[in-house]
């Protein structure tokens, strides 16, 4: 992870660590904080705790997003402090709806300059964000909204498994992971398991991110904690609730960052610290087993 971040994430880059509620790669965010990147444009539909932490750490100068919340809990206090009070630094906002962000990633993946959608009629978002435009339907007299392609410099995507080459499979809440990967200039895939190519080949329809767009593969089990990975671990909701408390107070946030990010070497040290605080944390978050029924692809030849 250290090497992948050092190589691909530079000051001033636009990055997307995506994953809607699930697959949120906190271990990559912590490494970026540790490497003290600055002036990043952070793209994410739901900034969630991960960008709240990065904004608090001073990594970001801009946020491109569609929903600012701690899902199921409340506000993102660090981002609100930046927006409402310029603390620790001013934060520019570029705001869309979810469908707008989805459309931006779709356009980015397909190398279309824009994507059309039926939205923003009479809503103030199009006034607030001049990058939302309107186009004429060439087959009728109505207007459609358009949003521009989003092609982040780097996408960091967490998943269940890939092979050595980076052919990546994920299941559960697949969200926009595929489109974000195709849209980005560089892709870092972080996985729970690196598996044999034969595992990938046994189910080619599940391969959502192909190796030819993957620049780096990082094996970082539990690297999405406190978010979840379907079939591997549950969301650590205690932390989501605790962050609501921590994040209200700037110095508490700074202490937290010292304790859980700056003073630790890497993702392994983070897990050690977690386990030192709660020996049975992985039992608490263990999901049990519910396996898909296999399908037959057949042998032809």
């Amino acid at each position: 992870m250290r090497q992948a971040i050092a190589e691909y994430v530079h000051d001033g880059d636009s990055i997307a660590i995506e994953g809607f509620t699930a697959f949120i790669c906190f271990s990559a965010a912590h490494e970026i904080i540790r490497q003290r990147r600055r002036n990043l444009t952070l793209c994410r539909m739901t900034p969630d705790l991960i960008y709240d932490q990065m904004v608090a750490a001073g990594c970001a100068s801009k946020l491109v997003f569609s929903y600012l919340g701690n899902p199921g809990v409340g506000s993102l206090h660090c981002i609100r402090r930046a927006v409402e009070k310029n603390v620790p630094n001013p934060l520019e906002l570029e705001e869309y709806s979810h469908f707008g962000m989805v459309s931006r990633y779709l356009a980015g993946a397909a190398r279309l300059p824009f994507f059309p959608l039926r939205s923003y009629y009479s809503a103030d978002l199009a006034q607030a964000n001049p990058r939302i435009r309107f186009i004429q339907n060439p087959y009728g007299d109505e207007q459609l909204a358009a949003v521009p392609a989003l092609n982040p410099d780097v996408a960091i995507l967490h998943a269940q498994r890939c092979d050595q080459e980076g052919n990546t499979q994920l299941w559960g809440l697949i969200g926009m992971q595929k489109e974000v990967a195709f849209a980005a200039r560089h892709v870092i895939v972080v996985v729970e398991e690196i598996v044999a190519e034969e595992v990938i080949r046994s189910d080619p329809n599940r391969t959502l991110i192909p190796h030819m767009i993957v620049d780096a593969v990082v094996h970082q089990p539990r690297g999405a904690h406190p978010s979840y990975v379907q079939g591997y671990y549950d969301r650590d909701n205690q932390f989501y609730v605790e962050w609501d408390r921590i994040s209200r107070d700037r110095s508490a946030v700074e202490n937290w960052l010292d304790e859980w990010v700056y003073s630790l070497d890497d993702g392994r040290a983070y897990l050690d610290r977690l386990e030192a605080g709660e020996a049975d944390i992985w039992e608490r978050l263990a999901p049990g087993e519910a396996y898909s029924q296999p399908v037959n692809y057949g042998i032809y030849g």
């Binding site: 509620t21 103030d124 969200g175």
Partner: protein, 261 residues
């Protein structure tokens, strides 16, 4: 008659408003409980779709968020968010959806973006998420919000989700919106529809024990009151049993709502 909390009557009123519906777009919290109640009572074929891309969920616990892992394990279908927004929502498959907001005006337009100026906000709220397109595309919108003068305002600070716009009949269609907009506003004190001559919020029902004056006190504009103002039917024993025993036994959402309400 059993006693019940304000959030419980919001849940039962919302569930009843879904009689016969088949496809609902749902968030966590009260709407989720209301939908599950509707499925067990007035809308047995009701299908819950979450914007995280899942339907036919059979969660073994009350979901903590709309992306909860429990919604995916054992669901009928889990698709990408591109499919969800393009093919389900914009595709016109969503019959009814719930929205809430920090502010609402008399025409059912909603603000969940900022209090104050957009560039220098007093309070930065979450923003649209899926709300803007849900408001545009779902065939019917049900709004759940606790009644409060701070929320029921003359003018929104920001229009996040279009309702009936300026209240001109046909304004939504003219603007190109496929859905028919807000149908009900369900609060902890009363219920409104938009069924008057113009699509303006109209008081149709007050909850038992609530006076019209109490409602007016929490609304910033002069109330439009339906000719046949009703009293909301209170939660039935069966509805309360389902909510309390099955849908929210730990009182996660009802407690929360009651504190706010």
């Amino acid at each position: 008659m059993q006693t019940y909390t304000p959030s419980e009557i919001m849940i039962t009123s919302s569930a009843r408003a879904m009689a016969g519906e088949r496809v609902v777009f749902v968030g966590v919290g009260l709407p989720n409980i209301a939908c599950n109640l509707a499925r067990r009572t007035v809308a047995p074929d009701l299908e819950l779709i979450y914007e995280s891309g899942v339907f036919g969920a059979r969660p073994a616990r009350l979901p903590l968020s709309i992306g909860d892992a429990a919604l995916f394990s054992g669901a009928i279908s889990a698709c990408s968010m591109a499919d969800l927004f393009m093919n389900y929502l914009q595709g016109g498959l969503i019959e009814v959806a719930f929205l809430g907001a920090a502010q609402i005006d008399r025409f059912g337009n909603l603000n969940s973006t900022v209090i104050g100026d957009y560039r220098q906000p007093k309070i930065r709220l979450p923003g649209s998420g899926g709300a803007c397109e849900i408001a545009i595309h779902a065939r019917k919108i049900l709004i759940i919000m606790p009644l409060s003068k701070r929320a029921f305002v003359e003018e929104l600070d920001f229009v996040t989700s279009p309702g009936h716009l300026d209240g001109q009949p046909g304004a939504r269609q003219k603007a190109g919106m496929p859905g028919s907009g807000p149908q009900r506003v369900i609060t902890d004190k009363a219920i409104f529809d938009f069924g008057g001559e113009i699509p303006e919020m109209r008081l149709i029902s007050v909850h038992p024990g609530v006076a019209v004056e109490e409602v007016q006190a929490e609304v910033s504009w002069p109330l439009n009151i339906a000719p046949q103002l009703a009293e909301t039917a209170p939660p039935s024993a069966e509805e309360l049993r389902i909510i309390r025993q099955h849908l929210d036994p730990a009182r996660i959402y009802r407690l929360d709502a009651d504190k706010r309400g």
